[in-house]
């Protein structure tokens, strides 16, 4: 009997795939949580000045921003925080399981700070003007440290997802070796700076809401703008450090995604041009807030938050997710739930050779009994199941899907032998740097290739269902009818 591998069922999302579901929730969370941590630092700086310089009016700004944060960060930020766990659970269950089992104590520690942070933000906002300023300042500083602690704790896990950076963790399995990895400090610096920028851009909405002519606009506006610009410049420098700590496969992908200034324009360019343009735009905006705080208007400030979200955080998160491909955790767990290398420190075994020997259908835990053995009758369904299990985490299977669609990457070929050649060659040998090593036995390669060729040919859809062909039309004589007959009927995938 074949060895059973702990591969979970697959959740298949047509078109956008599970990766985008995760990405959308993650992007909302990053904006909310980045703003929250950056705003905590801003509050501490402003409040310390308010106490030292006896400027209680500054506290009104903090109160308004704090109320805004309660709705903005502590509804949607706190919902999408566990939301990321949930979405990763259904997108990449073994990936999140790997992280949970390595970092459970780190996450438990972060939970302590989350709890304190939630109590802290309510205490901070609702006691302004109700308790003496010095005691309030202590609340604010504890809130800052709690917020920063949530940041530093999650960065160790996120950076481990990229890679441990050395062989040591594979041998020891120690959480400390995993956590304080090569990428940790650089990513912490990068995110830490950019949080200040997030807080400044969101905080500009509150500045714009201060009545025109009020000197508080200039007083607070300049502090907010300086903080945001510091974040932007520091973030740019830290990004270079971050790039220097990336693994070789990430650098290959990064290079691939950089703008081809004199070449073709395709979707890969969309990541970096917006980031560069967004940085310049936000820098110019913050400079304007610094120089002309009295002219700031709420709609513009809201618009800049939208720019930050759509043209800043979304492509940044997408890039970060893409860079670590084909891995999702510590360069031992592939994005398709298969373990791709030994981790002797934890007794973890590479599953690729097992699959190469026995096949994915025979070894994965959730495969119906009838599909474990491929027959001519079930070949299409078996091929479809293999495609979903092995490929759908990173690729749309339907022809017009937006997530690196397989039919397009295979150039629409309907040649089964050609597809099987790719599966048996580069894919089976792991020689495509951003692809997992998927070494399937010949019969599974054939089933997968047959299914993919059929999708390309339009004879089956991504669900594995046969597409009925319309009967041949009667001869047409008018010019319009002849032109219409020349158009290919578009089949809905």
């Amino acid at each position: 009997m074949s060895e059973l591998l702990g591969i979970y069922p697959t959740w298949y999302v047509p078109q956008i795939g599970t990766a985008w579901v995760m990405g959308i929730i993650g992007t909302i969370h990053v904006l909310a949580s980045n703003t929250s941590v950056g705003a905590a630092i801003l509050f501490a700086l402003l409040e310390t000045r308010a106490v030292r310089e006896n400027k209680p009016q500054i506290m009104q700004y903090i109160k308004k921003y704090g109320m805004f944060l309660l709705v903005f960060s502590y509804i949607w930020g706190s919902v999408t925080g566990p939301g990321i766990w949930y979405s990763v659970t259904v997108a990449s269950p073994r990936g999140i399981s790997a992280l949970i089992h390595n970092f459970v104590w780190v996450w438990a520690t972060e939970w302590v700070f989350f709890t304190v942070e939630v109590i802290g933000v309510y205490a901070l906002v609702y006691t302004i003007g109700k308790i003496d300023p010095r005691t309030h300042l202590k609340i604010t500083w504890t809130f800052v440290v709690s917020s920063v602690a949530t940041l530093v704790l999650i960065i160790g896990i996120l950076s481990f997802m990229m890679w441990p950076g050395s062989d040591r963790w594979y041998l020891t399995g120690s959480v400390f070796d995993a956590f304080y990895n090569l990428n940790f400090a650089a990513q912490l610096a990068d995110r830490g700076f950019l949080m200040l920028t997030s807080a400044a851009v969101v905080g500009s909405i509150i500045i714009a809401a201060i009545p025109k002519g009020d000197p508080l606009r200039k007083d607070v506006g300049q502090t907010v703008a300086k903080l945001g610009l510091t974040g932007l410049i520091g973030g740019a420098l830290a990004f270079m450090w971050y790039v220097a700590t990336l693994p070789p496969n990430a650098l290959v992908i990064l290079k691939d995604r950089l703008p081809h200034w004199f070449g073709y324009i395709d979707f890969r360019v969309t990541t970096f041009i917006p980031l560069a343009v967004t940085s310049l735009l936000i820098g110019a905006y913050l400079l304007w807030v610094y120089l002309k705080p009295q002219t700031l208007r709420v709609p513009l400030a809201v618009g800049m938050v939208a720019v930050l979200l759509i043209a800043g955080i979304w492509p940044e998160e997408r890039t970060r997710e893409s860079l670590r491909k084909p891995w999702v955790a510590g360069q031992y767990m592939y994005s398709n739930q298969i373990i791709g290398r030994d981790v002797p420190g934890l007794g973890i075994q590479d599953e690729v050779p097992i699959i190469a020997k026995d096949g994915l259908l025979k070894t994965a835990a959730f495969v119906p009994a009838d599909l474990r053995v491929i027959t001519p009758q079930n070949q299409m369904q078996a091929g479809r199941l293999l495609a979903v299990m092995a490929c759908s985490n990173c690729h749309s299977i339907n022809r017009d899907g937006p997530l690196r669609p397989l039919p397009q990457l295979l150039h629409g070929t309907t040649d089964v032998a050609m597809i099987q050649g790719f599966l048996a060659g580069p894919l089976a040998h792991g020689s495509v740097p951003y692809m997992p090593k998927i070494d399937l036995p010949a019969n599974e390669q054939l089933a997968l290739a047959t299914f993919l060729a059929a999708v390309n040919a339009g004879t089956v859809d991504a669900e594995g269902r046969l597409i009925a062909r319309a009967p041949a039309a009667a001869p047409q004589h008018t010019a319009v009818a002849q032109a219409a007959a020349g158009q290919t009927t578009k089949t809905k995938d």
Partner: protein, 415 residues
């Protein structure tokens, strides 16, 4: 699937990285933190319901004030329920990873629905809060305003149902394959809701009334210290508290018995001491609440909340005991892959007790004392010292964190 196959599947699904501490430790923490979580879920749902009922009677000043107060309590309680839910979610994934992940995947659509609907429900509650955050606003608000709250509450209850389904489906590993591929072909859209147990879900929901009842007893006692809060209002809150507790307890007994009757006969639930202890505690809460006098001592009033806390803990134990019983035929071994690392355990508990303890002590003492004062509160020596200590411990934690970081980072890059 036969039991041997299910057992093999469960073993294969357990994460190969293993458990970084003894399994019993995660089990205890899971039970403890779930009790914290359900307490705030109950408080949020119960106070939300009361806020709605009181809103519709807001032409009476006492009810208007109660609606405003409960709206605010529910707002904070939802936040606390979410953040306190993170810990049991974490520990469940650690020791019951096969059950939790499989169940989530089988109903993946609802998992994502949960996230967005929770956000929408909570946002709607905030809208209601902004329209009902003081008595003047409440008086001016139209009757239709209540729909914001009603829809929000319905969404939150449905989200509770989704969580119930995800937990419950995980108890039946023998059915997972059938649910995943009913005709031998995998159905991967995640839209299925495959199993639920209404009495069990209802039991947790009606426990919200019990929680809200005892909370009102404490609330009514706490504000006796404030000269600007009328005694009539506090008497009303106390009376409603006792009444709500009665309703909660009665419905808990009813749903609890129905739940117990529906359990597999092999569990012999009526012969279990835990069942009778739980029943005793439920009745005990009502009996205790009944004898707390209006305007009685602080100890009498707050002890009712302690009674509920004990009940929540025992219900959490019941829940865990049931899970163990459901999975027992498959010989599910929590501790089959140990990988203990005590340094990380010490790190967590030092933070939990040191940082969490000092900060919660500071915040709660300060808020407790400030809430009893009308106008500006100036911290006394004890609160001031607590605050300074909390700040010091917090910064010390950060310093230690980075000190460990330097040691581990250097060790890592030298490898």
């Amino acid at each position: 699937m036969d039991h041997t196959s299910v057992s093999a599947m469960l073993h294969a699904l357990q994460d190969p990285a293993g458990l970084p501490a003894p399994a019993w430790l995660f089990q205890y923490l899971n039970v403890l933190t779930w009790a914290f979580h359900i307490a705030f879920v109950n408080l949020a749902l119960g106070t939300a319901l009361l806020a709605i009922i009181a809103f519709m009677r807001r032409h009476h000043p006492g009810w208007a004030q109660l609606s405003v107060a409960m709206t605010g309590v529910a707002k904070v309680a939802v936040s606390m329920a979410i953040v306190l839910g993170v810990a049991p979610l974490l520990f469940t994934q650690t020791i019951y990873d096969p059950s939790w992940y499989t169940s989530n995947l089988l109903s993946a659509f609802w998992v994502i629905f949960f996230i967005f609907s929770l956000g929408i429900g909570y946002t709607l509650w905030f809208v209601f809060y902004f329209k009902n955050h003081d008595v003047a606003h409440a008086a001016q608000a139209k009757d239709a305003t209540v729909w914001w709250a009603t829809v929000a509450l319905c969404i939150l209850v449905f989200d509770g149902f989704i969580m119930h389904v995800l937990s419950y489906q995980g108890l039946f590993p023998q059915k997972w394959m059938q649910w995943y591929a009913p005709q031998g072909i995998p159905v991967m859209n995640g839209t299925g809701i495959h199993a639920f147990e209404l009495p069990r879900f209802a039991f947790f929901m009606v426990m919200s009334l019990t929680m809200t009842g005892v909370f009102l007893l404490g609330y009514a006692r706490y504000f006796r210290a404030r000269s600007d809060v009328s005694a009539d209002y506090l008497d009303l809150a106390h009376r409603i508290g006792v009444k709500t507790t009665y309703w909660g307890v009665a419905l808990q007994l009813l749903t609890g018995v129905l739940w117990a009757y529906g359990l597999p006969s092999a569990m012999h639930v009526f012969a279990q001491p835990l069942f009778w202890l739980t029943a005793l505690l439920i009745v005990g809460v009502a009996l205790y609440a009944r004898q707390v006098p209006v305007g009685g001592s602080a100890l009498q009033a707050y002890a009712a909340m302690a009674f509920y806390a004990l009940l929540a803990l025992i219900v959490s134990v019941d829940r865990e005991a049931l899970r163990v019983a459901y999975l027992a035929p498959f010989h599910y071994d929590l501790a089959s892959k140990p990988h203990v690392e005590w340094g990380a355990v010490v790190w967590f508990f030092a933070t939990f007790i040191g940082v969490g303890g000092s900060l919660v002590a500071f915040y709660s003492t300060m808020l407790w004392k400030a809430g009893k004062v009308k106008g500006l509160y100036t911290a006394d020596g004890a609160v001031s010292r607590l605050g300074s200590t909390a700040v010091f411990i917090n910064f010390t934690w950060l310093a230690v964190f980075f000190a460990i970081g330097v040691w581990a980072y250097v060790r890592n890059i030298a490898a």
